[in-house]
């Protein structure tokens, strides 16, 4: 059948380029391999020329694939599944980019694009290491090319074809029997990007994270090259800036994800030990361990074997993370994992293809890797740096093993699941890791390589130790850290960790002054460690002192809930314009407002009034109704920032959520003054009717025609309310202003006037009451987390610059 209106050329072109990139990276891998194993310089050079040409073609193809996808998406060619499933007509450029890397194919593409950039830099800078290093990178390009190739071999699918047509993907759809299916309404627009992802973080977080992912291959490739060429220790100085770069960017990518989660998602925190978060943290921890042993080796000749192990594992765990997050295996344990896309075997092979040669090279040449037989002195810097690296590594192993429970279940046929309290299962271990790392970070800089003069050490370290002790004792006493949810033992550990974090900060700050005499050029490490101390302190304080402000203690209409005692009551309900007691604050739900009809954003205006000092502030948490087809709602928080804390709130329920029909009807009663109307929960009496009321609520003058009924409501529980429904004429048209008694689910309307009576309409309905249920948290010193992290990254950048200068 000939379909009408399809644009098939871009897809053919794109698919051609994705196959070309596969072929080119295949040639590049072989040619670089031959260049590495070449016997003569001429042979090496001729292979290298071919390899470079092939890699250049790969670069052109990869960027062409991206350009074609961008063309398809930005021209709204909805016959392509990519455009139909991920984009929409109303999306701006930055979200068109976001929707490209929302998809599995797109994120793989992002990864290979960064490999192209890094590969180009390495071709120009790595000199004698070019051939072996680029063999590894071209090999990775080859694997990634298969992920977006979308070819069928022997009945098995290899990769996802990014240029699949909608009618190919859903071939059984009856609509595709029509040649003009593109004119059907559902083909006029795409599914669009989930409103939750229409956020600037979605534009920047994936590219940075994938640059981090991509960059881990560089230290890995250098390590492979060292083993392969049997030049075991020659590459470590050259590769050190790359290891630093990788730690820096991967760390930034992870932290951007954390900031996104905190800023605009309703996870109520920046880290939840979700398996997908862990999967990216683990390679980072291992690489940081490798970074330290690499520095040790460069300075002393110790720890080369450990350096190999860590740098190799860093990248291998990136591959493993790719398998975990994309295979669907985390489906039941992570909120972020992709669902199964039928590529599991391919994803496993991606790990195996790199694991087997790396393990074989490492094990078979392990004994040949030079090491120093003489033991490190226990007061030497290298000894404690190694132990610190080991602690980092072991903690990463703990995290990855526990994260891999679903994998272990599959292998061993078990049914384990994380216990009731996942976060605490990690926190109770990691708090001790934090204590160890904080103290190591503080002291180790003061030790010298080889050995340290005891008297010297004590003299230098006495002052920062004393300062840190004083500061942390003050923090412990006045810092209001009373996190006793898990008992005194855990609380004590938190206090110890606070000391360790402060110690790390103070000692490194002082080391810049005394040890380096204020020379900032060489202070990258100290600055990074100082930032680490702040980050740790921020994490400890903001988590242990995170408080729920919205505890539903005072309770309006608090039902009897037998489980409520042991369960946190984190939601509080605010009825519209009813000032509600919320612990330290009064909270009032003012109104809501839909601003953006496209994304259907709805803002809720909530006013907070602090009881003790009378300070008021307004927050506007909002709801986004998702794009078409998915009538889901996502809550976006709003925050009030202070320098030392955030007040954070998001909406968990509202009457606007269900948009349920109000089926209750007004029942009409003709009444005279003094008459009684009964309703289900009490009765009401018409007290009087006032002409042209002029009070705080209404301002009518004698020239108007307005009547206000005053109705006194007597509820069964003997509470009394007054309702004042209004009836007035404007331009000879009657207007009604009904009044409501929310607490009694009542609405009362002034319908009309008879000779000696008036007619009142009474409605009983719970659906009419505008309300929001929300959670309000306080995060003290959350800014320390972000600030500490930025300082740490500044330290990384300083170190990259310095190590690059030293290596050059």
């Amino acid at each position: 059948m000939d379909y009408i209106g399809e644009h098939l050329l871009p897809g053919k072109l794109g698919h051609f380029f994705s196959i070309l990139s596969f072929a080119a990276s295949f040639v590049a891998t072989i040619a670089y391999f031959k260049a590495t194993t070449g016997k003569t310089p001429e042979e090496e050079n001729s292979w290298k020329r071919l390899a470079r040409a092939a890699f250049a073609i790969d670069i052109v193809s990869v960027f062409s694939v991206f350009a074609v996808i961008l063309y398809i998406v930005s021209n709204h060619l909805f016959e392509y599944n990519y455009a139909w499933e991920h984009s929409g007509r109303s999306m701006s450029m930055k979200y068109l980019l976001s929707c490209i890397w929302e998809a599995q194919e797109g994120s793989f593409l992002l990864w290979t694009m960064w490999h192209c950039v890094l590969g180009t830099i390495l071709i120009f800078t790595s000199k004698k290491w070019e051939a072996p290093v680029m063999t590894v990178i071209s090999g990775a390009q080859l694997c990634l090319a298969t992920m977006i190739m979308g070819l069928y071999f022997f009945g098995g699918k290899v990769g996802i074809n990014a240029f699949l047509l909608v009618r190919e993907k859903f071939a059984e759809g009856p609509m595709f029997s029509r040649p003009d299916y593109l004119t059907l309404p559902q083909m006029q627009d795409g599914q669009g990007l989930n409103a939750l992802l229409q956020n600037y973080w979605m534009t920047i977080h994936p590219p940075v994270l994938f640059l981090g992912f991509a960059s881990t291959i560089v230290p890995f490739a250098f390590a492979i090259a060292g083993l392969w060429k049997k030049q075991f220790g020659d590459w470590t100085r050259k590769a050190l800036p790359w290891t630093l770069f990788s730690c820096c960017i991967l760390g930034t990518g992870i932290m951007m994800g954390a900031a996104w989660a905190y800023e605009s998602l309703s996870f109520a925190g920046y880290w939840a030990w979700d398996p997908v978060e862990n999967a990216s943290l683990v390679p980072w921890l291992i690489l940081v361990a490798g970074l330290h042993t690499q520095v040790v080796y460069n300075a002393t000749g110790h720890s080369l074997r450990a350096t190999y192990l860590f740098l190799l594992l860093g990248f291998l765990f990136i591959l493993y993370a790719t398998f975990l997050t994309r295979s669907g295996i985390l489906g039941d344990t992570s909120v972020h994992a992709f669902v199964d896309s039928g590529m599991n075997l391919q994803l496993i092979l991606f790990v195996v293809v790199f694991l087997v040669p790396a393990a074989w090279l490492f094990i078979s040449r392990y004994r040949k890797i030079p090491h120093i037989a003489k033991e490190e002195a226990t007061d030497s810097r290298e000894f404690w740096m190694f132990i610190g690296a080991l602690v980092l590594f072991l903690s990463s192993m703990f995290i990855i093993i526990t994260t891999s429970l679903p994998v272990l279940n599959d292998i061993f046929g078990k049914k384990w699941s994380a216990g009731e309290d996942r976060e605490f299962a990690y926190n109770r271990i990691e708090v001790f890791i934090a204590i160890l790392l904080g103290i190591f970070t503080a002291i180790t800089q003061y030790l010298k390589y080889k050995n340290t003069k005891k008297a010297d050490l004590l003299k230098k370290i006495a002052l920062p130790t004393a300062i840190a002790l004083v500061l942390s004792i003050l923090t412990s006493i006045f810092g209001e850290i009373h996190y006793d949810k898990y008992g005194a033992g855990f609380l004590a550990a938190i206090h110890l960790a606070v000391f360790a974090a402060i110690y790390a900060f103070v000692a490194n700050a002082d080391y810049i002054r005394t040890g380096l005499h204020g020379k900032l050029k060489a202070a990258g490490g100290s600055v990074a460690h100082l930032g680490f101390g702040l980050l740790l302190l921020g994490i400890l304080i903001s988590s242990s002192r995170k408080t729920v402000l919205s505890y539903n203690t005072t309770g309006i209409n608090l039902n009897f809930d037998p489980g409520a005692k042991e369960n946190p009551m984190e939601n509080i309900t605010l009825l519209k314009s009813v000032k509600t007691d919320m612990g330290k604050y009064w909270a009032t739900y003012i109104d809501d407002d839909s601003v953006d009809t496209r994304t259907k954003m709805m803002f809720f205006h909530v006013k907070f009034h602090k009881k003790d000092d009378g300070e008021t502030f307004d927050l506007y948490p909002n709801w986004i109704r998702s794009t078409k087809g998915q009538e889901s709602i996502s809550a976006n928080p709003d925050k009030h920032h202070y320098w030392n804390r955030d007040i954070f709130t998001y909406i968990s329920a509202s009457n606007t959520m269900d948009q349920r029909e109000d089926t209750a009807q007004f029942r009409n009663y003709p009444v005279a003054i003094g008459d009684t109307i009964y309703y289900s929960r009490g009765f009401m009496v018409l007290d009087k009717v006032a002409l042209n009321p002029n009070d705080s609520k209404h301002h009518f003058s004698s020239t108007d025609t307005a009547l206000m009924a005053e109705v006194r409501v007597y509820a069964k529980d003997s509470t009394r309310y007054t309702a004042t429904p209004l009836f007035y004429l404007k331009d000879n048209i009657p207007h009604f202003v009904a009044d409501t008694v929310f607490a009694q689910d009542l609405a009362i309307r002034f319908n009309r006037v008879f000779k000696d009576k008036i007619e009142l309409g009474v409605k009983e309905s719970s659906a009419m009451i505008p309300f929001v249920a929300l959670k309000v948290y306080e995060f003290p010193h959350i800014n320390l987390v972000w600030f500490g992290f930025l300082v740490m990254m500044t330290g990384f950048v300083m170190s990259i610059y310095r190590r690059y200068k030293l290596a050059a």
Partner: protein, 137 residues
Amino acid sequence: MKKLHIVILVLIAASIAVLVSFMGSLSTYETIASAKQKAGKTVTITAKMDNSLPVDYDPIKNPNYCSFHIADTLGNTVRAVYHGEKPRDMEKAERITFTGKMQGDVFEIAPNGIMLKCPSKYKDDPNAAKKNLTQNQ
């Protein structure tokens, strides 16, 4: 033996101890039927909401009490109680994991014991896309 080796051994021994204790704190995946037999013990059930029975959540009365029925793939249903807000879109999810324990006839869900997929990930689900495609025909 080198001092470093001793330290390494100690750290590894500590890690194993940590792992063992972690394994001890794990719960298991159960069906509704097997969870009923392990009353009082924390378990994880993979199920979805039984939409044929009403959800009891009235935030005006109590925003921290939500009661509904869940059904597993074996066709068993049980009433579940969660002491928090009703998670959005719970009705639509095909697979939800609930962590909690059976108490009497009721499955008491632990705080944060409901795990729903982040909505951004529904889209990769081919069934969801198919539904959207045939929706407006």
